[in-house]
């Protein structure tokens, strides 16, 4: 058997529906059609009445999820693309994220955001919004990079009593495969050493983990051993694991696919600088997408986001510092 990242997301939802009667799924085209990416394929039939097509109303979709959560349900929301969560932004950050702090009533909702760039998708179907949501108190933001994590973290997201923004990467949907789904898993909130190494640390998350690993393979042939840290959850950030890796290597590059101002790379570098300053043998480095909207044409797109090649160049540069 071979399971893709996308199928793992479907399986996790199937299991959540099967095991917990409080779970339901709500989003555009998630019902009989099975979702724009087929992440809910077959679930409407398997769980009648629990997988509901929504109108094109992201604000009301999130609002309804909050209401249902107040009443004890555990909704999973699918946004058709992360980019289309903007009309629902207000309900996420002001309604869902503040509910528990204001009322002590938890808000167990999971919002799935099909995120990130794929070739030719252009400015409005490629965005990474993890940093926007992570800025707000009251939200947990997950960014799984592997099939196993897509599965186990989504299950955990549904089980958690707080709102979870689940950033699943569209580029990984079909590109990543595994043999079997995990039976046990690292908890959310913990980063993972995706590849051990002694010379330099690359901190990455989501699709960028794989670009980092590819760069690490290449560098390994040159005798440079890169440690790759996969953040898994960007809020909360597992600062301990990051700092421990930097302690081992003394050099760190932080890679993110999002826009350069702010974002995960800024937060991670800031944490390393404030909490692990003495461990650094060289200035920490960052690599982000370019500071423009995400371009449509594949030529431009592949230059816009970080890739194994640009990571390679950045690491080589870092080793010279």
């Amino acid at each position: 058997m071979s399971i893709t990242y996308l199928e793992a997301i479907r399986e996790a939802q199937a299991r959540a529906l099967a095991e917990d009667p409080r779970v339901f799924i709500y989003g555009q085209d998630v019902g009989d059609f099975g979702g724009a990416f087929k992440a809910t394929k077959g679930l409407a039939k398997e769980f009648p009445g629990r997988v509901l097509d929504a109108p094109i109303s992201e604000d009301a979709i999130v609002g309804a999820a909050v209401g249902a959560a107040i009443e004890g349900m555990r909704p999973i929301i699918e946004m058709q693309f992360a980019d289309f969560s903007t009309p629902g932004f207000n309900q996420v950050i002001n309604q869902a994220a503040t509910l528990y702090w204001r009322t002590q009533v938890p808000c167990p909702i999971t919002i799935r955001l099909p995120s990130g760039g794929t070739s030719g998708s252009g400015p409005f179907h490629s965005q990474c919004m993890e940093a926007i949501y992570a800025h707000y108190p009251g939200l947990i933001v997950m960014t799984p990079a592997t099939v196993e994590d897509a599965y186990s973290m989504l299950l955990e997201a549904v089980a958690i009593d707080d709102p979870v923004i689940f950033c699943e990467h569209k580029y990984l949907y079909y590109h990543l495969k595994t043999d079997r789904l995990p039976t046990e898993a690292m908890p959310a909130g913990k980063a993972r050493i995706a590849r051990p190494g002694r010379d330099v640390t690359i901190v990455a998350y989501s699709a960028m983990v794989h670009e980092a690993l590819a760069a690490a393979e290449e560098l390994s042939t040159e005798g440079v051993e890169v440690e790759v840290v996969d953040l898994r959850t960007v809020k909360p950030l597992d600062t301990d694991t990051i700092i421990a890796s930097v302690a081992r290597t003394g050099r760190v590059l932080v890679v993110g696919e999002a826009f350069p101002w702010g974002g995960v790379t800024a937060e991670v570098v800031a944490r390393i600088a404030t909490e692990g300053f003495g461990l650094l043998d060289a200035p920490p480095q960052r690599l982000n997408a370019k500071d423009t909207p995400i371009p449509y044409h594949p030529n431009l797109w592949s230059a816009h986001r970080p890739t194994a090649n640009s990571i390679l160049a950045a690491v080589r540069n870092l080793l010279r510092l």
């Binding site: 009301a60 909050v66 209401g67 309604q95 702090w101 950030l237």
Partner: protein, 345 residues
């Protein structure tokens, strides 16, 4: 088609408003007015932390009619001018004051304040400020109740006419229509959104004209008339409760106070003040009581005194209560404590 359904059921479901019901509503209305007056006084005396006080003067007849038409198990998401409805739905004066004065014993424990209060687990939803945002939340509660097989419940929420211009209003109503939820959407058209007159807010004759576009049954009501409000709200709630789908109630009235107590509302057209909608629902209902001999002048004044006493006692109690303490406060916005970040210092 829908409205003919409503005409039929109206007669069957809703009897005339009885003396008892009217009196019960009137007492809440009066209490709400007295509480508002006290809040205004506390505001002027600088006793409200930070500052805003938003009152419901002139809107109590409508508001109380919503609260009183609901029952345990129903859902209620009132807005800024719904002091009366809140009391009728089961909020206490103490609870209201705690929230306004920031008592740590209040429903929001000082974390949120003034009109932002509720008990979500009791179906009483605390508003966020963003207008329109509560509608879909009520929808979600109603969807959850349907998932759980609960029948005969109603969700009601209120908004000013200005709030109808938000995208959230539209998405919420459309969603309720598609799901055919037992939602009662109450729009208080008090002629102004802060300073903005209706001519700059919408371009239809009546906001009830929007009902059809969402598959809602429309209702219009004179918001100054308590008997009419009780009847129309009772009717709308009964329709929703008995499976007739979502209801839109649009009330005409005038805000008889500032947007908040900081606002002298000098922009309000004097002709509106002198018109029928400018009348005070409290005075009108007192007249109604007297004319029908449902109450004597003496009783009216006794009731007011009783309400004042109740409010004063509550104020005295709440003012002695502790304020929140930042040092013992649990500064964590997550239920799942292990996911808390220390915050990056």
């Amino acid at each position: 088609m829908l409205s003919s359904v409503s005409e039929v059921s109206a007669a069957e479901i809703v009897p005339q408003v009885s003396k008892d019901e009217y009196l019960r509503a009137f007492r809440w209305l009066l209490l709400a007015r007295v509480l508002d007056e006290k809040l205004a006084a506390l505001y002027r005396a600088g006793k409200i932390p930070g500052g805003g006080v938003y009152l419901g003067k002139g809107q109590e007849a409508l508001s109380v009619s919503v609260g009183i038409s609901l029952r345990t198990g129903d859902v209620y998401a009132p807005l800024i001018r719904d002091g009366a409805g809140r009391l009728a739905f089961g909020e206490t004066v103490v609870e209201a004051l705690r929230n306004c004065l920031g008592s740590v014993l209040g429903p929001m424990r000082g974390r949120d304040g003034n009109v932002h209060r509720g008990r979500p687990r009791d179906g009483y939803l605390p508003m966020i400020s963003h207008l329109g945002a509560m509608i879909s939340v009520v929808n979600g509660v109603l969807m959850a109740k349907r998932f759980k097989g609960q029948k005969g419940v109603v969700g009601a929420t209120c908004l000013g006419e200005g709030g109808t211009s938000t995208g959230a209003f539209h998405e919420g109503l459309n969603q309720a229509g598609v799901e055919r939820l037992p939602l009662v959407m109450v729009v208080a058209n008090n002629q102004y959104a802060y300073s903005t007159p209706t001519s700059r807010q919408f371009a239809c004759k009546s906001l009830a004209d929007r009902a059809q576009g969402y598959g809602f049954t429309p209702h219009s009501v004179d918001g100054t008339n308590l008997a009419e409000c009780l009847k129309v709200l009772g009717h709308a709630v009964a329709l929703a409760r008995t499976g007739n789908g979502p209801q839109l109630v649009v009330a005409s009235l005038l805000r008889l106070c500032g947007h908040g107590e900081h606002d002298d509302a000098s922009y309000i057209d004097p002709r509106l003040k002198e018109s029928e909608i400018g009348r005070d629902c409290l005075e009108l209902s007192e007249e109604h009581l007297l004319v029908n001999s449902w109450a004597s002048k003496q009783e009216l004044s006794q009731w007011r005194t009783a309400a004042q006493r109740a409010v004063e006692e509550a104020v005295a109690l709440v003012q002695k209560e502790p304020s929140p303490d930042p040092y013992t406060e649990n500064w964590c916005a997550l239920q799942t404590g292990r996911f808390a970040e220390g915050g990056s210092k």
